[in-house]
């Protein structure tokens, strides 16, 4: 196994009086593609914010890139590419695709330094990797939801990250765009050997693509290869519903959207 790039050791996160994630022990080695699943409120986004160094553990430890997360400095954070949950983008926000991707260089550049031609080349290369270079001068707001997600993935890649954190990257996209984005993520993992943490509700979409699944319900309920985690008894305990596994191994959680 590769050296762990993210290591939780009995880590608990939350705010005084509210525990969002409790007693998490988990090691994620370099270049692993990990899917993080669980019902709403299970602590998936908290896990994401913790890895980004935006939340320190109340108890236990978390080390990211060999740093305690409370010591994560800006130059460490610049090595973590992050795609937040899709918000409502103001369609008139005055930013071109290339300007949005260039923002990915700002953390690594540091204060007072202007982006150079090399930074511009890196941003354009990231756009090429996601198949959007021909849109570089377009207004970001003029793109479709799937295209915007590709641009935001390019922004994360422009950081030249070692870790890619994706918080529900397919939410709000149509089925074609969902497949296209997930295929792109898998392709980037294979080509760039990035460590990827992808938070998702869509078990079917990622179960055949990730190396490991992490199942959360405030605690770490299960972690392992998808076929070990996606057992009906485990999932029904977490989601609280009966499950059906069809011939093609698709997992169906009844009343899924109510969670």
């Amino acid at each position: 196994m590769n050296h762990p790039i993210i290591r939780f050791d009995h880590a608990t996160f939350g705010f005084p009086g509210t525990i969002a994630l409790e007693d998490i022990t988990l090691s994620i080695p370099e270049s692993e593609f990990v899917g993080v699943i669980g019902p709403n409120g299970s602590g998936k986004t908290t896990l994401c914010r913790a890895v980004l160094g935006l939340m320190a553990p109340l108890r236990g430890t978390l080390r990211v890139l060999d740093c305690a997360c409370e010591e994560l400095r800006c130059h460490h954070r610049a090595l973590i590419g992050y795609l937040p949950q899709k918000g409502m983008l103001d369609r008139n926000f005055p930013v071109t695709v290339l300007e949005a991707v260039m923002m990915g260089r700002y953390g690594a550049l540091g204060l007072f330094r202007r982006p150079s031609g090399k930074d511009r080349d890196i941003a354009r290369q990231a756009l090429t990797q996601v198949g959007m270079d021909h849109h570089r001068d377009s207004a970001l707001g003029a793109l479709s939801g799937g295209q915007q997600q590709r641009v935001f993935i390019a922004r994360a890649l422009a950081q030249q990250p070692r870790i890619l954190l994706l918080d529900e990257p397919t939410t709000g996209l149509d089925l074609t765009a969902q497949h296209s984005v997930v295929e792109l993520i898998q392709q980037l993992h294979q080509q760039l050997k990035l460590t990827i943490l992808m938070i998702t509700h869509d078990i079917n979409m990622i179960r055949s693509r990730v190396d490991r699944l992490v199942l959360l319900k405030t605690k770490l309920f299960a972690a392992g290869p998808p076929q070990e985690v996606l057992q009906p008894d485990i999932l029904s305990q977490v989601y609280g519903k009966e499950l059906v596994i069809t011939d093609k191994d698709f997992v169906i959680v009844e009343d899924y959207h109510h969670h």
């Binding site: 930013v95 003029a142 295209q147």
Partner: protein
């Protein structure tokens, strides 16, 4: 027209207007994009409360205007950061409280002081050489800081959490932006007045917002519009014997509605593929 420039007071007024127009319109880009529009209004009224207290105590008016302005924006930022209440509610409370303080301080003054009212309504034609030096120094400081940190300011205006996650010291930059807003309000207080200064921050940037899809272009357009309105407003004010602050702001407002009607974003709306 050219003979107007022979007068010292007119040279000072036009220079002050150009400085205020440029600094307000540039900081306005970040205020508009970051959604801090109401914070600017609150800060202007807090700064005016500082001016009235300074006159009451016999202190330099701009010093207490800065103190009151900074205190207001920092409290506003802290409340937003902690998520204690909605931003518009906290600003609304500070806005009215500081205005109440200003009225209280005015009431405590024994005599009518026209200089104080100059800060409320603006009197660019009476800007003194010393005030011009102060306005110039603060303008260079604010514009220089924006130039040095423009990429970080753009990033937090676009998405502050994403900026923090990318390694940008987003929280510190946010407080710096609030500080620059307070200083800008103080710079513009004498020229356009506490009531109208906020319009000079908001309107040129909002006009530029209608015209372009690029952050860099929006900043340039906003600055050109701000300087044009401020200088032209002063000239109109002198030529037609109008109050300067309203002349500047109403000209900017007219340009805003023209931009809304002619906005390429609306006329040629691009539909997602």
């Amino acid at each position: 027209m050219l003979e107007l420039l022979a007068y010292d007071f007119m040279q000072r007024s036009l220079l002050a207007a150009a400085l205020v127009g440029s600094v307000c319109s540039v900081i306005g880009v970040f205020v508009v994009l970051r959604g801090l529009a109401f914070a600017g209004a609150g800060t202007a009224h807090a700064a005016f409360a500082g001016v009235t207290l300074a006159y009451l105590l016999g202190l330099p008016p701009l010093s207490l205007a800065i103190v009151f302005g900074l205190a207001t924006v920092w409290i506003t930022g802290w409340v937003e950061e902690k998520g204690r209440m909605k931003l518009d509610v906290s600003i609304g409370i500070l806005y009215t409280a500081t205005m109440a303080l200003a009225i209280l301080f005015l009431g405590l003054m024994k005599t009518y002081n026209p200089e104080v009212y100059g800060y409320l309504f603006g009197s660019v034609l009476s800007v003194t050489k010393e005030e011009l030096i102060t306005i110039g120094g603060l303008s260079v400081g604010v514009l220089g800081t924006i130039l040095l940190l423009s990429k970080e300011l753009y990033f937090i205006a676009f998405d502050q959490e994403m900026a923090a996650a990318s390694g940008v010291p987003a929280r510190q930059i946010f407080y710096l932006l609030l500080t620059l807003v307070a200083l800008t309000v103080v710079i513009a207080l004498k020229t356009v007045g506490a009531i109208l200064v906020f319009a000079m921050i908001l309107i040129p940037a909002s006009t530029a917002y209608q015209l372009t899809h690029s952050l860099a272009q929006m900043t340039l357009y906003s600055m050109l519009i701000g300087v044009f309105c401020a200088v032209t407003g002063v000239l109109l004010s002198y030529m037609f014997d109008l109050p300067s602050g309203p002349s500047i702001v109403l000209l900017a407002t007219a340009l805003f509605f023209l931009a809304v009607c002619c906005s390429p974003k609306r006329l040629h709306r691009v539909h997602p593929e």
